[in-house]
Amino acid sequence: MNEETTTAQVMEAHTHHGHAQFLYVWGALLVLTGVEVFLAYQNLQPVKMLSILLVLSFVKAALIIGYFMHMKFEIARMRWVLMTALVICLGLMSMFFADAARILSIGVRQ
C-alpha cells in the first residue's frame, strides 16, 4: 500500500478479500493448534518440542497480526516501525536466559 492510503481504503482492501479469507485464517489457526496438541503427546525431546512449538506459535501470531489485526493492509512505514520495535524489545529480554543456563551449569550457592 502507498503512503496515501486512508482508513476507508484499508477497510475496503480488507473487506475486498471477503469473509472467506477470515474463515481460512481461522481454520488454519485451529489446525495449527491441533498439531501442537498432537505434538504434546509424542514424547519428543524438550528442546526439539520447544523449537517446533515456538515456530508454530510465531506462524499463528503472524496470521493473527497480519489478517485479524489488519497489519498486512497497513502502510509499510507503520508495519516496519511497530514490528521492529516489538522484535527488538522482546529480543533484548532473551539476555536473561544466559543467567538461567548459568544456574543450571554451576548450581545455586545454598
Binding site: L23, T33, C89, L90, F97, A100
Partner: protein, 262 residues
Amino acid sequence: MADAVLHHPEAQVYESPLFGTYSKKLGMWLFILSDSLTFGALLFAYSYARISNPAWPTPFGSHSIVNATIMTGFLLSSSLTMVLAVSAASRGLKKAVTGWLLATMFFGAGFVVLHAMEWNGLQREGLWPISLMLGDKAPAEGTFVHAIPQFGGTFVALTGMHMLHVTIGVIYLGVVALRKKWLPVLVVLWALAFFLTPSSSPFHYGSFAILIAAAICAIILFLKPKDYTPDDVEVAGLYWHFVDLVWMFIFPLVYLMSTRIQ
C-alpha cells in the same frame, strides 16, 4: 491531528498522516506494544524459572489439556467473530455489529469461566501463591508445589494477568456493543460472582474486578455518551486480537510443554 486529516471533507489539502491511519488506532497499537512487553516479561520470567529448575513439574493431565484446547478454540473463534464485527461496522450494519460483538463476548466469557474452573482444580492441589505464604495452608511435603514454588508463582502471575485482560476485553466490548444497557448486566454479574461463590474461588476474586470495571464504565458512559463509530469497533478489535495473540504463546509454552503423559 491525524483524525482531522483523514475525516476532513477536503482531506487532500492536508499532508497525509505519517502512519496513514487515525490517531486512536495508532494509540491502541502503542498500548499493545507496551502491553506485549508486560506479557513478554512474565513469559520470560516463567521460562527463566523453568530453565533453572530441572525438576520442573508437569501437572497438566489430559483433562487440563482438553480444557485448555477448548479455551484456545474459544479465543480463536472469538477473533473470527470480532473481525466479522469490524467488517460489518465498516459497511454500516449496526445490528450485525452488535450481534458479532455479543458472540465475541460469549466466547470470551466462556474462556474466562473454563479458565477459572481450571484454576479451581489446581488450587485444590495447593497451587496458589497465598497458600504458599500461609503456614497453615502450606502445600504438603512431597508435592510438586512444595518442591518447586516458582511454578505456582509464575503460572498464576502469567495466566492471571491474561485472564484479567480477557475480562477487561469482554467488558470493553460490552460498552461498545450495548453502551448504558451494559451497566445493569455488569452489576448482576458482580452480584452473582460475589454472593454465589465461596470466598476462596477465583470467581469471587473476579467479582471485584467486575465491580471496579462497572464504576469506570459508568463514569465513561455518563460523562461521554456516544454512538460508537466503525473506528471505535476496529480499535476494540485490535485489543481483543492482542489478547488472543498472547494466548497463542501461553498455551504451548505453559500447558503443552508441561503435559503429564501417563
